[in-house]
Each structure stands twice: as structure tokens, then as C-alpha cells.
Symmetry: C2
């Protein structure tokens, strides 16, 4: 399996885009984040490391990472986008606590089959799906 930075560099070259320290700093930081993140968090983490990368550049870089399969958008329906490092990770769904925001991951194998079924029934070329389940974790149930 190619290293992630290698995947990104090949993608950049293939598109006649440019390899910049900003983009690689951002990507490097994403590799070091365990779990989900948003633009603000990523920006703060870079700031903490004395990187001067601007938010605008982060916003501009993320679509590239997504396009080459290193990052995935995660929608927690809370008003802004979240992201996760996805290269080499299994596809999974999220169970989110409405109280404290905790996010657990689980796999739901049946959905591949559902995609095939929908493709056939409606004539769609399916690109993907998102399943999120929400509720209250044990701790937040007590607090209610």
C-alpha cells in the first residue's frame, strides 16, 4: 500500500497542481489527529506548532485530500463539517450522543447490498451513503 503522502504527491502531479509546504503541513497534521476533526481544530493545532497556515488554505486543501481518497467528510448535522482520516480505514457509520457529543463507530455490512439493490431498482449509479444513529449515552441518560 502506498504511503499517504505518496498518494497525495502523485495526485498533485497528475493534476499539474503544486506541492506546497502548506498542503503537506496540513496533511501531516491530519495524520496525527486521532479521530474526527473540524477546520477550526485543525487550524488551532497547526497554530500550536507554529505553522502559519491560514484557514483559507485549509478550506482549499481539504477538497484535494477528499478527492484523492485520504479524507472523508463527516456530517454530524451540527452546523459545520467534520472530517476524518480515511485512507486504509474500513468504511463505518457513526453513533453520536446528543448530550455530550461522543461519537462511536460501527460497521453495518448490509449497506453494500442495499446500494446494489437501489442501483438496480432506480437506475442510479451509487456513489456512497451516510448512516448516522443518534441517542443518549449511558452517562447522559443518568444526567437527564
Amino acid at each position: 500500500m502506498k504511503s499517504e503522502i505518496q498518494v497525495f504527491r502523485e495526485y498533485i502531479r497528475g493534476r499539474r497542481l503544486r506541492r506546497t509546504p502548506e498542503r503537506e503541513q496540513i496533511l501531516q497534521e491530519i495524520f496525527e489527529i486521532h479521530g474526527h476533526f473540524d477546520v477550526d481544530e485543525l487550524h488551532l493545532r497547526l497554530r500550536d506548532k507554529a505553522s502559519k497556515v491560514s484557514k483559507a488554505s485549509i478550506y482549499r486543501a481539504l477538497p484535494l485530500f477528499i478527492d484523492c481518497g485520504l479524507v472523508r467528510e463527516v456530517d454530524f448535522s451540527d452546523g459545520h463539517w467534520h472530517y476524518e482520516h480515511v485512507y486504509g480505514h474500513a468504511h463505518h457509520s457513526h453513533l453520536r450522543c446528543l448530550g455530550c457529543g461522543e461519537v462511536l463507530e460501527f460497521e453495518q455490512p448490509g449497506l453494500g447490498c442495499l446500494e446494489a439493490h437501489l442501483a438496480q431498482e432506480f437506475g442510479y449509479r451509487i456513489k456512497g451513503h451516510q448512516l448516522q444513529v443518534h441517542g443518549f449515552c449511558a452517562t447522559c441518560q443518568e444526567a437527564e
Copy 2:
């Protein structure tokens, strides 16, 4: 089954809120919309009927309708919220075309079972789920 307006009026009374013509106009209009809608569309439709309800009031009323189970938020991940009339409708998921925005509905019965399973495994009290599938419809595939 109680009528929807009745559900709303009981909810309003129970909370010591006030029954206003604006809220009932908005609700009435929602009943007449077939399918999904957003705030802007709802506002325009009310305008067309010479109603002077403001957008702010729509934004303030929707959470009430959601809270009493008449309306559901629908997340198409396109930058703003959509809604649908939900009272008496079966729960369903959405298949959306990334090209033209068409939305089809389908049922996926296995997810009730999944909720029970997750509740048990992680100790959550599950409140609901959202499944969206996206891809390209037959027409948009050709156009590519």
C-alpha cells in the same frame, strides 16, 4: 388519529405558548406541500398567498413543529436545512442525485433492528437515525 392542527394546539396549550395566526398559517402551508421543502420555499409560498409571515417567524415555528412530531429535519448536506411533513408518514430514507438534486424515498426495515442492537451493545438510548444514499440518476449519468 388526532388531526395535525389538533396535535399542535394541544402542544401549544401544554407549554403555555400562544396560538397565533402566523404559526397556524405556516403549519397549514406545510400540510399543503407535497414532498420536501426549505425555509425559503415555505416563505415564498406564504408570500404568494398574501401572508405576511416573516422568515424569522418561520425559523421560530419550525422547532415547535419538530418538537411535537409534525415535521422532520432532512439533511441533504447542501448547506441548509430541508424539512418534511412527517405526521402519519412512514419513516424512510433518501436517495439523492448529485447531478440534478432529485430525491427518491425508500424504506430500509433492517435499521430498526440495528438500533436495538446498538442500544444493547453500547448502552445508548437511541433516538433515531438518518440514512442517505447518493449517486447519479439515469439522466445525469448520460449527461456526464
